[in-house]
Symmetry: C2
Subunit: 401 residues, 2 copies
């Protein structure tokens, strides 16, 4: 019997999804599981997005390939109806439609770095950065941000400490998954200077841009002066319009070499999904009121969760100003064991909660007492989930207080 490759054998399972079979088993046994483990929002997609798919399917006879770079009307629409409106000035040739943010950052990493090269990443970070780095032989060098400092960017000295001749890029998500940290204009400018000094790409994953809970507008890496040739923007319609399943994202850059390379990657997989592109095209007409309502809803949810968490003995959770995640320090021996125990052992009114241990969001070893919660349920559900969570912390045999 032939053996599978070492690469695929040693590839990590998704930290976020690997407890799914355990959760499935609990649910099959009739247990109600509150899913705070994955950023899959319950919010409605804009009606105009679904209507566009229906209309296009009614008038089409064939779901044919699109251009590898995506439908030209979608690229143009995104430039004119979305990016221009939010102050990101790009040409149609500077945007390419990808199969969701996942493909966009996977390609961006490969454009920036060869096998053996290094990318500096701000931790905690989205675990799939690590998965793709491993697949492509790229080494991630983590620069730590601390939960006790609200995940603020450290002094640029911390970046200087890890930069080497093999460093090719800095990778950051803003607002950050998992920490919910919204990096400020000042932080981004400092990072830009560092990248310019060392001639590095800055891969900026801004898929949560519409989820910022401060009065200041989001500051995109695309607007760091002098960084036109350095920035590769990774974006997605998944979160912005609650169209996660449409699998439409994009890669944006003023750098012509980057866009030419992105097109070659795009051609190798022929085209992005046509039906999802229809949804994205329709979504461009989403009224501002939709975003306002969604944002207000997330602020209520965030407040519900962080207030509840910070009342629990030994729990510390900085208030997130972006995305829809919160990372919390909790008084347990091992967050991974605790997450599994919640699904296998703990029940309150025949219910439990599913959470994600934050260990794999760090390059730094030994951070075993943090978890990530996605506040993607309605407030009454979140309230119940927080009650269950508090009780679980009281009962967990491995509690440290």
């Amino acid at each position: 019997m032939p053996k599978i490759s070492n690469k695929s054998a040693s590839m990590p399972s998704s930290a976020i999804r690997k407890l799914v079979p355990v959760s499935d088993a609990a649910e099959a046994a009739g247990v109600k599981v509150y899913h705070l483990n994955v950023g899959a929002p319950d919010i409605k997609s804009p009606k105009c997005a679904l209507d566009a798919v229906v209309d296009k399917c009614r008038e089409s006879v064939n779901v044919s390939y699109t251009n590898s770079a995506g439908l030209i009307e979608l690229r143009r629409g995104m430039v004119e109806k979305y990016y221009r409106k939010i102050g990101i000035d790009i040409d149609v040739s500077e945007i390419l439609i990808d199969v969701a943010g996942s493909e966009a950052f996977s390609v961006a990493m490969q454009i920036a770095a060869d096998a053996g090269d290094e990318i500096i990443v701000v931790e905690p970070f989205y675990t799939n950065y690590n998965t793709f780095a491993m697949l492509y032989g790229i080494t991630l060098k983590a620069v730590h941000t601390d939960i006790r400092e609200g995940f603020a960017l450290k002094s640029i000295d911390e970046f200087e400490k890890v930069v080497t001749p093999r460093t090719r890029a800095v990778l950051i998500s803003n607002p950050c998954n998992p920490s919910g940290k919204l990096f400020t204009k000042e932080e981004m400018l400092a990072l830009g200077e560092f990248c310019l000094r060392h001639d590095l790409f800055l891969i900026s994953d801004e898929v949560y841009r519409e989820f910022c809970y401060t009065d200041e507008p989001h500051f995109s890496a695309m607007n760091i002066p002098g960084m036109e040739q350095n920035v590769i923007l990774v974006d997605s319609v998944s979160k912005r319009y609650n169209l996660c399943g449409s699998r439409i994202g994009c890669i944006v850059s003023h750098n012509k070499d980057v866009m030419a390379a992105a097109l070659k990657f795009a051609q190798s997989r022929l085209c992005p999904p046509r039906l999802g592109q229809y949804a994205a095209l329709g979504a461009l007409d989403t009224p501002q009121s939709y975003f306002d309502e969604v944002k207000a809803e997330y602020i209520r949810r965030r407040d519900c969760v962080t207030e509840a968490l910070n009342k629990m003995p030994g729990v510390f959770a900085p208030v997130p100003y972006g995305a829809f995640y919160v990372v919390a320090e909790i008084p347990v021996d091992d967050a991974g064991k605790f997450a599994a125990w919640l699904l296998t052992d703990f029940r309150m009114d025949n219910s439990t909660v599913m959470i994600t241990p934050a260990t794999s969001f760090y390059g730094t070893k030994g951070i075993t007492n943090q978890i990530r919660l996605a506040y993607v349920l309605e407030v009454p559900e979140l309230q119940k989930a927080m009650k269950i969570f508090a009780e679980a912390l009281r009962q967990y045999p491995g509690r440290t207080i």
Copy 2:
């Protein structure tokens, strides 16, 4: 200004798509271009596929993620309504939905081989095999099939000559893109024996399975006795149901390690497109009459093209028994130059044809007098295209007869 990676800089442009800008320029100047260059059929998708998308969008409020392995009802439906019917007996756990055939064979290659390993491929082959091999550091070793022998599989001795301790798999497409060769049961059994003898995976790309023009049924690699742990089947709904833009394919194997690895790759990109999965789900109810009509139409097209080609002086084109491509030997100095000349210089009634030079379908160097034509237009269009092509061959300055 930071430099892009060597990998992305040296990545080949799609041989099939790289003349697109030249063709766009001709069309912008008012020239009618007959596109025989790409396998993008003009055939209608089954109505049930489009209807399913409309129905699901009407009753949905959110285009959310699906399971990374795809919708369970789609996997089940494919097992029961499609594979069982054609004599491929698999369990739901042995199929995983991928983002089209492209992702499926890209993942299959990575599951079979590490960087530095080798995969034997039957040439001529689909060029993106080469693109992905290059991206993953895998070396393709080509075993030649000859146009003058109707692209029949050579003696297994030819495979024995190229196998090394680093060989991990054999990769074949059947029916073959680009040659249109339909490999027989005997050929596949011989290949199976070879794989078993050397403990190799057999990656069988069968996306053109429904396009076979003989009375014998297609013989799937899944039905080679004793090869249960060796075969990785790559499949797609793109061609079968004329749903190229839906981007839905699958990877199928009885090998549990292969399927576990495929799931990890699937998790890294979260999920396949939900709307495309709806189309695929609807397509499962496509009546047999649809396939019969499509097949009859392709036989008419094939006959139109191959008869016309073989009447042209110095042209040789074996009749293809599968897929919707024909590879032809033509009397020119360089098929690449000829293909470009057609778009830049040649006009007949202000029209021209676009074709694909076959050079990049070969690992063997120096095959510069072959082209691939996709017979994806209606017969009257194909007749006009063939007239133009014949005239172009007469006028081309680099003709060799």
